[in-house]
Symmetry: C2
Subunit: 249 residues, 2 copies
DNA sequence: CGAGACTTTGACCGTAGTCAATTTATGTGG
DNA sequence: CCACATAAATTGACTACGGTCAAAGTCTCG
């Protein structure tokens, strides 16, 4: 596959990701192709830095992970940036540090450039990016529920279902299967578990026929048992919220 | 204490919280007092709803908690809204539900109203609110590290240090002590632990002389041992990020 | 004083972590 | 295309942190 051919495919991905199924227009493909020269490339393992351009990037192809390393070496992965996701490097908060690291070959476009180059539809593109930012924040909440209240099996299934749906939206799921360029160690650091436990739980899930994992590609056997086990449809929080707070001093 | 007197105090809190120590002016107290009639009040246990006004509120006094209840009754608390914090009710994301619940008597002001009523300094107020929103997002990351990679003792100390610093900024820490209107059950649901384990760990921390807990007020014995145990100074993430990713497929 | 919420304690269990070794990819250079 | 080096995945044995269940003790407040 030639480089330019790859470019076209990947642009398609980002375009679909930035368009919500319901209300919004997909981005104009030609425009993204026009941005071809503005694509930044990273190789796996490289940290994405916020130098000499805006701090918001759109992933065109590849995977990135946002993470922190604690002083003693422990690592926490906050989430993954997939094609169509926003990478927001304005992490200059007062609390500690975060870094985005490319997990694969990674291509990104400056969000500002994307908006400006969009002429008439600038506002639309800007909107799409706003929505992507909101999705990213939602993902943080989902991550908290995962590692805060789900057990190992649930965490893994929940994360895989999440990845499935996000990749599905950008056309990266083929016949139920999708690539996951993530080592079990990274799964562990994402889900707050140990490498060994991830391995054993994955095997258990395989034995139970809930998923299929071969050659870096995953297939989920989606059925009611799986989605139930994954706690994937978060229930409405407002029901019992009151009941369980009672008189808080 | 009369109602109007309370109002003055609480306005002071929000004002200080919205001003960062470094660059920004505190809000004009008189203006907040002028908003007195626009304050919304909730009693402990009530869910804050997004009806008939903007979706961003500023906490003037009291505590709120953002949480989700899973279908099977498990609960996850995402974080607390303290005086000066923003409550963002635009949680209409596609993924599940969240709710803000008052943990004490709670007073809030519509952020839009606050900005509009601020005449000349509208932009400044708007900025302060932007910063508060960013702090809130940062808090989500801290929460993920806490429940993802810290053990029970670390989680508790880390959370308490966080609360200490946030309350300190709004003048709610007196001689090292601050009120925490949070039951141990809520600590548990915030930190991803069980009620019983929270209780035992708290006692251990007390025996070790790391903190003092009496009558709903906490005093942290701040020293190097405590901050070290709490993993509270998040290290720079970029150091070894690369080392541990290597070739990710 | 009694009721309900909250905290504390004990006994026991189980999920997940640790350590260490082995097997299986994945790659790279010869 | 094979040999070696390195990263990843897998397995076993053992440990421990934290969960569960159940009961008793406190605190508040009407």
């Amino acid at each position: 596959m030639s480089a330019s051919r790859a470019a076209t495919n990947e642009a398609r991905c980002a375009s679909e990701a930035l368009s919500d199924p319901d209300e919004c227009q997909p981005l104009d493909l030609k425009r993204i192709q026009g941005l071809w020269r503005r694509v930044e490339r990273y190789t796996a393992g490289v940290t994405v830095r916020a130098e000499g351009r805006s701090k918001r990037l759109i992933v065109v192809s590849g995977w990135a992970a946002e993470m922190r390393i604690l002083p003693d070496g422990r690592r926490q992965i906050f989430g993954c940036g997939l094609p169509g996701d926003v990478i927001d490097l304005s992490n200059s908060g007062n609390l500690g540090n975060r870094a985005f690291v490319a997990l694969t070959r990674l291509e990104v476009v400056d969000a500002e450039v994307m908006i400006r180059s969009d002429g008439v539809d600038g506002a639309q593109t800007a909107n799409a990016i706003e929505r992507a930012l909101r999705r990213r924040e939602d993902a943080l909440y989902e991550q908290i529920v995962r590692i805060g209240r789900l057990n190992a099996k649930e965490r893994i299934l929940n994360l895989l279902l999440d990845l499935h749906d996000r990749l599905s939206r950008v056309g990266l799921v083929k016949e139920g299967a999708f690539r996951v360029p993530i080592t079990q160690e990274m799964f562990a650091d994402s889900l707050g578990l140990s490498l060994v436990h991830i391995n054993r739980t994955l095997q258990q899930l395989r034995r139970e026929g809930l998923l299929d994992l071969r050659g870096g590609a995953v297939t989920l056997r989606k059925n009611q048992r799986l989605t139930a086990l994954a706690c994937y449809q978060p229930a409405s929080a407002e029901w019992d919220a009151v009941r369980s707070v009672r008189s808080a001093h």
